[in-house]
Amino acid sequence: MNLIQSITSKVPTLPLFATSESRQASGAAEVKTSTGTNTAPGTGKAENKMRMETHDLSVHYGSTMGVRNVSLPIYDKQVLALIGPSGCGKTTYLRALNRMHDLTRGARVTGSVMLDGKNIYDSEINPVIIRRRIGMVFQKPTPFPTMSIYDNVVAGLKLVGIRKRNVLDEVCERALKQAALFDEVKDRLNSPGSSLSGGQQQRLSIARALAVDPEVMLMDEPTSSLDPQSTNRIEDLIHELKKQVTIVIVTHNMQQAARVSDKTAFFYVGDLIEYGPTNSLFTKPKEKRTEEYITGQFG
């Protein structure tokens, strides 16, 4: 554990520990397509192996450039933070990691995104399976409008045919607890997801993403609409989740990046300017623009 983390990180809360074990036992594990990740928890000492990697990844929207030639490693069971001023391409990069641009009209992705040594853009790869392994929480909360809180959380299981009530109940409770929402909604799981406040909806989106047990979790400013207390709990969750899941998080909050991440990448107008271990990037940035940004001189 590096310097900044040891100062700023908090001890994970107990309920999260408890639930992280029950998730292994729960039927949700069936959804996983790869089993390579969950070997020997607690081998944190040696540098983790590379889980994902992008090579010369560029995304264009028609003639506008989103990101350009980004090459980055994403290490297993670590947190990578993407920082940079608004419009620099953080969301664009993140969406390329689970083929979310497939749906965007006019978006063109070049270069490669490797997951366990395979390019997820290869023609024989099924993007649906990729997205089940690589979950995503969006910048704006997006509850499914006609579904109850409960159905929102278990949508990823129920809609692919997992109907066992006790499995779904268990997953729902576990995911809501992880997302720090359970206590607020446990008495009204059947009311519509859209009846929640903005911050609650954001945590609902997080719970929904967690319910399918992704191996990699992409989080686009997950705490931007949350109050400090919920933000804390989401950061706790990230620490806890890191034991099993690889996380890429976009944040505008420098302190948050410092608190939660192992590696940080700084983007500026579509280019990756600097990448490195979080503590060294924040304490002795190599690039002038990185330094200006993290010390608040622009952006």
Partner: protein, 285 residues
């Protein structure tokens, strides 16, 4: 101050012009309603809903006569048409809205617009060629197919716009938890658009229910109730719009008032459809 007064007067004039044009729009509707009701209400009796029409002599001899076979035929044909049109129309609408990059999409759009603009009588001709000729007889089935051609482009268009009104982010959220495209459309987008989908379907239904032209040489018409309900599908069948037309051009005054009564039934039916559609649209917002 003078300019304020002038503006006030201008406001008043504009307002009265708008009220006037509203009256001009509403007046024909009121005249039609009043006229239809005055002329038809006397024929709306028990016999009207329980007896078949029979030959003109029935009416002239004062024997009981009615339009039960017409009402039943209309219900059977209209619902069969709806049953045929909803899957096809919605399928096309889903295609137009959800798979805009599909290579068949431009063709589909052109075909749908063409079908939408095609005169209704040509849709009757189409059903005549497709169904009546091979079957060798006019039939309710052919009428239903013709009406389905009326409904399909309307349902496709309203489905497309209802689905488009649902934010794109919902679809992305569905994909992000590993759902296939079709599952996202069926389980998240369509439920969210349900009011719009039902409204569009009702509008298509009401439009088709009022059409006489496509039925003239498909379901053709029939003065009698068939012995078996299958007879409605496989043989000539009566429908309200087409019966209204043939009663109106008949030389018998009793039949004329029955025609007005048929118009009342048709109007009530259409008004219920549009009323429900409006109610659902309001509920949505």
């Amino acid at each position: 101050m003078k300019t304020l007064l002038q503006r006030n007067i201008r406001d008043r004039i504009m307002e009265s012009l708008l009220v006037l044009s509203t009256i001009v729009v509403l007046l024909p509707l009121v005249i039609i309603l009043v006229h239809v009701v005055i002329n038809g209400i006397s024929a709306l009796n028990w016999d009207f809903f329980t007896q078949e029409l029979g030959s003109p002599s029935r009416a002239m001899q004062g024997r009981p006569t009615g339009l039960v076979h017409t009402i039943l035929g209309t219900v059977v044909i209209d619902f069969l048409a709806l049953f045929l049109a909803v899957p096809i129309g919605m399928g096309a609408g889903i295609m137009l809205s959800e798979f805009p990059d599909h290579k068949l999409n431009p063709t589909l759009r052109i075909m749908n617009d063409t079908l939408n603009g095609m005169p209704a009588i040509l849709k009757g001709l189409l059903a005549f060629v497709l169904i009546v000729k091979p079957m060798g007889t006019f039939s309710g089935l052919a009428g239903a197919v013709a009406l389905a051609f009326v409904m399909i482009p309307i349902i496709a268009r309203t489905t497309e716009s209802a689905l488009m009104s649902i934010p794109w982010s919902i679809r992305e959220a569905g994909l992000a938890i590993g759902l296939p495209r079709w599952r996202v459309v069926l389980s998240t987008v369509m439920p969210a658009a349900r009011f719009g989908l039902v409204t569009g379907t009702l509008i298509a239904f009401a439009r088709a229910a009022g059409e006489a032209a496509p039925l003239l040489f498909t379901s053709f018409g029939n003065n009698y109730l068939p012995n078996h309900w299958l007879g409605m599908l496989l043989g000539p069948t009566d429908t309200l719009p087409q019966r209204l037309y043939s009663l109106a051009i008949s030389p018998y005054s009793h039949w004329h008032s029955m025609g007005w009564a048929a118009a009342i039934v048709l109007l009530v039916f259409v008004i219920i459809c549009f009323g429900t559609a409006r109610y659902l649209t309001r509920k949505k917002t």
